[in-house]
Symmetry: C2
Subunit: 425 residues, 2 copies
């Protein structure tokens, strides 16, 4: 076990029992305040530990963090920090863990301590990375089968390739936005099956997709695949991801080259990147894969993670309703398999790339990761706590996703990713 | 007419009559020499005009090129220069035109003149931009119909949406490489229709795709579409583009989410970016669009360009064979339509994004833009000049594409984009 994961550890900061950010988590993010500007930080309880401030005060002096220290801690994205490599991320996280331990006076009793900690409620969290490339996979069997039953063939819902490879497609990197960014309802071209011709206007079938995504921490050379047993070494960490989707636009455009404008108007990413090290205790075996995958996708050790996922919908006026509860362990294809597949043709990785899981649906009706599935293609609206009905999203609706893993009294959380739908301009 | 386009202009440098780079062209690129490092330059005849050297010697002193001068001319990509905006590109191109005019002694007779010009044969040309986002359209009706006849329905080859919108998909930005970069044959998963199960190995159906691409010169805000009448203002210039394709990998993976690993192993881009200003004299009306597009895709003025395209295949040993001759005027959807569509849902642009046309095929058998079409899916191999046959590409084959527009004795060329296939590692 990584030392920083020890369930017995506790911090000298008072941390609420239900916090997503105990000393065992220590996820990385980028925050901003008017006084400090953008900085890299680590979440701890209700606070952010300011890594630039720590660096300036000499708390990393005995670590070798490379030539970009301290300026990599004063950037608008984690990319520069991530590019320093796994040894550096681990050193910094380990040092943060040491400095926060209840029995370590070094920071606790330092006169500049308060300058190194900022309340989360006083900061603006930014998009954690500037993604150079973004892939969206389609790795939940339940989701693919649900979609296939709606649009393909109720008796044979999975495409023939589905169980042989982690299907994915390239997404739009420019429109990935920070949690809290409002989502403008997109215009687009769509055609109802019985319409004579397509029309153009605001999407009438705006949806969310509950996903997780991983961020790569290493650049690779074109032509050099990553073998599956080394795939996880290239992963910096994980985030929550809402792949907003306009089903009517998507439906009309998608054959033959796949989703395009039905997706590229926005995707939302959570601010804190949880490391694989922090998630190590939550490693589980995934679903049995039948048929056995080809050699380049075959693994022995468990590469799935037991992370609880939850989505709530909050109308413009009225209380939130939890509309789904799922878990990342339901994913059929693991991140290691996704990354081995992505690079199997020699495709190169860049630092800060984003690889999303695809919608994560579970086996039960209350664990579906999109309105498309929850309402059977919009045909079965459901009631919210305020009594109103939803098939797809209305202007003013806020979708909030949250995620955490929990074991031995330790909760490793992702915080949340939220976005509110605004009317078309 | 832009002053720099005047067919009567001539330079004090001796320029061969068949050169792609007369004084009327002046495309931008990034070159490198061991002494100078990477620099932004303009092609003129057999030379490169070094913009950093011009800047250092004061030739731009009376222009307002913004706060990034001169360092934007000493970068590994054009992105920083492009980001300064259209007024700056135009000022620099106009100044280059003035300095190169036969009757202007300012540079010609300057004692440092030779330091501002480098022979093209003495430089390494780099990838001109670092693309943040890459879209590949599917805008040639002939290509879409040829592919549809092979894989969809010989009697109804076009998908129902094809004549209503410029179909496109997101491509992989990281694997876009400079002309001259060797192309490693990808491994991948594929399944012959009669095979029981898929297998993994080197692609047996490696192909090229003859495309042009445009590069955006402006960043836009999420949620703010570009109206079609302003779309071309956001375009910095055009390049030649080879969208290498592994047909067997693509065929097995592509349903339902589109091309992925069959494309993402490499795409090649030509080094010189030809401005829309230089191409102004070659503007032509495109094909009649029937049905008339929806309002957001409707234009009056001609937005197509008459640019000759040519592809040759050179085996490892043996002479080159010209295997196709096409023209960008065959494209059904214009760049203006593509960009208006791309942003119609609010998708934001970044400086240096790449938008490729899709394979450009013409109406005749000798104007097809891929081996897939030239050999009817590999079923009709053809002979090269050396007597060997090709269905798909062999290791050692070099594909060279070139393009130029010509009128009134002036040839506005793109130079070439070339790549040689290497065996799988």
């Amino acid at each position: 076990m990584v030392a920083a994961n020890n369930p017995a550890l506790h911090a000298w900061i008072d941390i609420p029992a239900t916090s997503h950010f105990p000393i065992q988590n220590l996820p990385f993010g980028v925050f901003e305040t008017p006084e400090r500007g953008p900085r890299v930080g680590v979440a701890i309880g209700d606070y952010v530990l300011d890594l630039y401030a720590l660096s300036q005060r000499g708390f990393f002096d005995d670590l070798d963090l490379g030539p970009n220290e301290p300026k990599m801690f004063r950037r608008r994205s984690l990319n520069s920090f991530i590019a320093q490599g796994r040894t550096v991320w681990r050193s910094v996280r380990q040092r943060a863990s040491e400095l926060l331990r209840h029995d370590n006076p070094a920071l606790r009793d330092d006169e500049t301590m308060q300058a190194c900690l900022v309340r989360q409620r006083d900061v603006q969290m930014l998009r954690p990375v500037k993604p150079g490339n973004y892939t969206d996979f389609y790795s939940s069997l339940e989701h693919a089968a649900n979609v296939g039953r709606l649009f393909r063939d109720p008796t044979n819902p999975l495409p023939p390739n589905w169980r042989h490879l982690p299907i994915g497609y390239h997404g739009r990197a420019s429109s990935i936005v920070a949690s809290g960014t409002d989502i403008r309802r997109p215009n687009g071209q769509r055609k109802a099956p019985d319409a004579v011709a397509p029309s153009f206007g605001p999407s009438q079938q705006l949806d969310f997709e509950l996903e997780m995504a991983f961020i790569t921490g290493r650049a690779t050379e074109l032509g050099h695949p990553i073998p599956i047993q080394h795939a996880e070494e290239a992963i910096f960490g994980l985030v929550l991801f809402n792949d907003w989707s306009a089903r009517d636009i998507q439906g009309w455009e998608t054959v033959p080259l796949g989703p395009f404008l039905g997706k590229s108007f926005a995707s939302s990413i959570s601010p804190w990147v949880v490391t694989l090290d922090a998630l190590e205790p939550f490693r589980v075996a995934g679903p049995v894969q039948e048929p056995e995958p080809l050699l380049y996708l075959r693994t022995v050790d468990p590469h799935h993670f037991d992370i609880n996922l939850e989505v709530s919908l909050t109308p413009a006026e009225g209380p939130a309703t939890t509309i789904t509860r799922s878990n990342s362990r339901y994913l059929y294809w693991s991140m290691a398999q996704q990354l081995a597949h992505q690079t199997s043709n020699g495709c190169n990785l860049q630092v800060g790339d984003l690889y999303a899981s695809g919608t994560i649906s579970g086996p039960t009706p209350d664990s579906l990761g999109s309105l498309l599935e929850l309402t059977l293609g919009g045909t079965r609206p459901f009631a919210l706590a305020d009594g109103t009905q939803r098939d797809f999203l209305l202007d003013g609706d806020t979708i909030t996703m949250c995620a955490y893993a929990e074991k031995d009294g330790v909760r490793i959380g992702f915080g949340e990713v939220a976005g509110t739908v605004l009317s078309t301009l």
